[in-house]
């Protein structure tokens, strides 16, 4: 990338241990400006700890974190001016009104009095909070509270936004609103979000970092990860014909193409077959042509798109097997 500016987030060899437990061990990654990054990991993987270190709230045991080229350890004030942070569970004061809260936070974030009023109107508009601006936060529903947290994080227009589980506990409609809100920040701000909801991350994020047991186990775009972690494509076929001859026939199409599962034939004689291959390219046409030529009857053929969920499960499972030396962890960022 020919960007003369330093990357938005630069983490190298970050380690955090407390109480004899290593929560984060040797994490390194880089996030370019304007990118939206998804941070994935099972519970207790070190996501929240890493995010807290990024904000300067927790000190790191060793390693360095730089936000916009500035070290979190030596220039905490400068770093805090450049981030918007929404912690896990989004803590908010119960007895303030939405607009009062944003005003107070805006003053703490050093927005001048003159600019603050218009800016609050703007974020209320962006996060669709205009209707509740005079309501007391303690009386708001979860979805509104979550959006107040996001509005607060983007209030000072920081170059880097860090959100820990922004969509936790929301209904699908609210998730959609929050997702659109995050997507609207694309290009202007660097956003790093953690989540358990994988389709969520897949749709919003440019790049995904999967961590487990305090280590980066995989990182890249969702498509890259699919290829890299799963390493094979799957097809699902509904066909009727001689089942016993099928494996040999499949091997003639592509040597690595194997039959992984099949069901009993239904009333019309059709079986549902699962095929797997290590090859990347599209095999659908070849499979269809071969089967039809051999007088199989084919009702349906689909290529399965592995979801991020599969990738996530595979990556975290693998990291439990191989705790030392993560295989894909140290790939330089795109």
């Amino acid at each position: 990338m020919s960007d003369p500016l330093p990357p938005a987030i630069e983490v190298s060899h970050l380690v955090k241990s407390y109480g004899g437990i290593t929560a984060v061990s040797d994490i390194s990654f880089t996030v370019a400006r304007g990118e939206i990054i998804g941070f994935l990991g099972p519970n207790g993987a070190g996501k929240s700890t890493t995010m807290r270190i990024l904000t300067g709230y927790l000190p790191a045991t060793s390693g360095s974190v730089k936000i916009c080229g500035m070290s979190v350890a030596t220039q905490p004030d400068e770093v805090k001016r450049r981030i918007g942070y929404m912690p896990e569970n989004n803590p908010l004061p119960e007895d303030m009104r939405v607009s009062e809260y944003l005003y107070f936070r805006g003053r703490l974030k050093e927005i001048s009095r003159r600019n603050l009023g218009p800016r609050i109107d703007e974020v209320l508009e962006l996060s669709d909070l205009k209707r509740v601006r005079h309501k007391i936060i303690g009386q708001l529903s979860k979805g509104f509270r979550q959006r107040v947290g996001i509005a607060e994080a983007i209030l000072a227009e920081p170059p880097v936004i860090i959100m820990d589980e922004p969509t936790i506990g929301l209904d699908p409609h609210q998730i959609l609103i929050v997702r659109d809100l995050i997507a609207s920040l694309r290009g202007r701000m660097t956003v790093i979000i953690s989540s358990h909801i994988l389709p969520e991350i897949e749709q919003t994020c440019d790049r995904v970092i999967i961590i487990n047991q305090g280590r980066v186990v995989a990182q890249g775009t969702p498509a890259d990860l699919r290829h890299e972690i799963l390493g094979h494509s799957r097809y699902q076929l509904q066909a009727a014909g001689d089942a016993a001859a099928l494996p040999a026939l499949l091997a003639t199409i592509e040597p690595t193409l194997t039959l992984t599962a099949q069901t009993d034939p239904d009333a019309a004689g059709f079986r549902t077959l699962s095929l797997s291959t290590e090859r990347d390219g599209e095999l659908g046409e070849a499979i269809l042509n071969t089967l039809l030529a051999k007088n199989y009857r084919v009702r349906a053929l689909t290529r399965e798109q592995p979801t991020l969920e599969d990738v996530f499960l595979a990556a975290t499972r693998r990291s439990w097997d191989v705790v030392s030396a993560p295989r894909n962890g140290n790939k330089p960022a795109a």
């Binding site: 407390y18 904000t55 927790l58 805090k80 912690p87 803590p91 908010l92 004061p93 003053r107 703490l108």
Partner: protein, 253 residues
């Protein structure tokens, strides 16, 4: 210190919109009113040596025991329980500013409440118009003592609030510490164990930290800089420890 006033005005505002403040204030004024009426009744039956103001302020510790914990127990404990301390400390404010803001707001309210007891003296002046009852010396001395010692007492409240994320624990701890600081000195000065010659320095230290004797001096119009220094240094120490407590809790959370 750029954010101190933002935090202070926010805290004062939050205290003033909270119903708990008004309940505490009403209870305080009702209690002080009863005390005052009791004192005046004594005066109406027989002539007394001390002026009403002197007697009134000598009971300062009673309201301090329940007012200070009520005013301060919430300040840091609540922030930590809700987790808002995390959002607060990830803005460009320092822990010192946060603790000073909380302290400032609680102290402001403490002064406001004590200031409102001035009304009692005003009523007395208005209806009795007896200059003997309203001796300005003990009155000014008493209020000065309240203002100076209040710094230390409120700082103790803030300190205990920084120890726990549970408000009640903070409140009880603050009550115990205040009782020790205020009554402990009086108790220790009467302990015969300290009469030994070898424990002389300890005895002196206890005498120096006698809050009741400070009070006597203040109402007699003697403002000793050593006593003022006792409260100021106590305040500074308590606040420094509160800052440390918040920061170490952050490190280990």
């Amino acid at each position: 210190m750029k954010h101190f006033f933002t935090l202070l005005s926010h805290e004062i505002r939050m205290l003033l919109v909270s119903p708990g403040t008004y309940i505490a204030a009403t209870a305080f004024l009702a209690f002080m009113g009863f005390v005052f009426v009791g004192i005046l009744e004594n005066y109406s039956t027989a002539a007394q040596d001390a002026s009403p103001a002197q007697v009134f302020f000598s009971l300062f510790f009673l309201p301090v025991f329940f007012m200070v914990p009520l005013l301060t127990m919430k300040c840091l404990a609540e922030e930590r329980r809700l987790g808002t301390i995390e959002t607060l400390l990830t803005t460009p404010v320092t822990t010192t500013e946060v603790v000073l803001g909380k302290f400032g707001a609680a102290y402001f309210l403490y002064l406001l409440l004590w200031g409102s007891t001035g009304g009692l003296f005003y009523i007395l002046q208005k209806f009795a118009s007896d200059p003997r009852l309203l001796d300005s010396g003990p009155l000014i001395g008493g209020y000065t003592f309240i203002a100076v010692s209040g710094l230390f007492f409120v700082a103790i409240g803030v300190l205990t609030s920084s120890f726990s994320r549970n408000q009640s624990v903070a409140g009880i701890l603050s009550f115990v510490l205040l009782a020790f600081v205020i009554l402990g000195g009086r108790y220790l000065s009467g302990v015969s164990f300290l009469e030994r010659e070898s424990l002389r320095p300890l005895k002196d230290a206890v005498a120096y930290a006698q809050i009741f004797s400070h009070y006597d001096d203040f109402t007699r119009g003697v403002i000793d800089s050593r006593q003022v220094l006792f409260y100021l240094s106590g305040t500074v120490i308590a606040l420094v420890f509160s800052i440390f407590a918040v920061e170490t809790k952050v490190l280990h959370s």
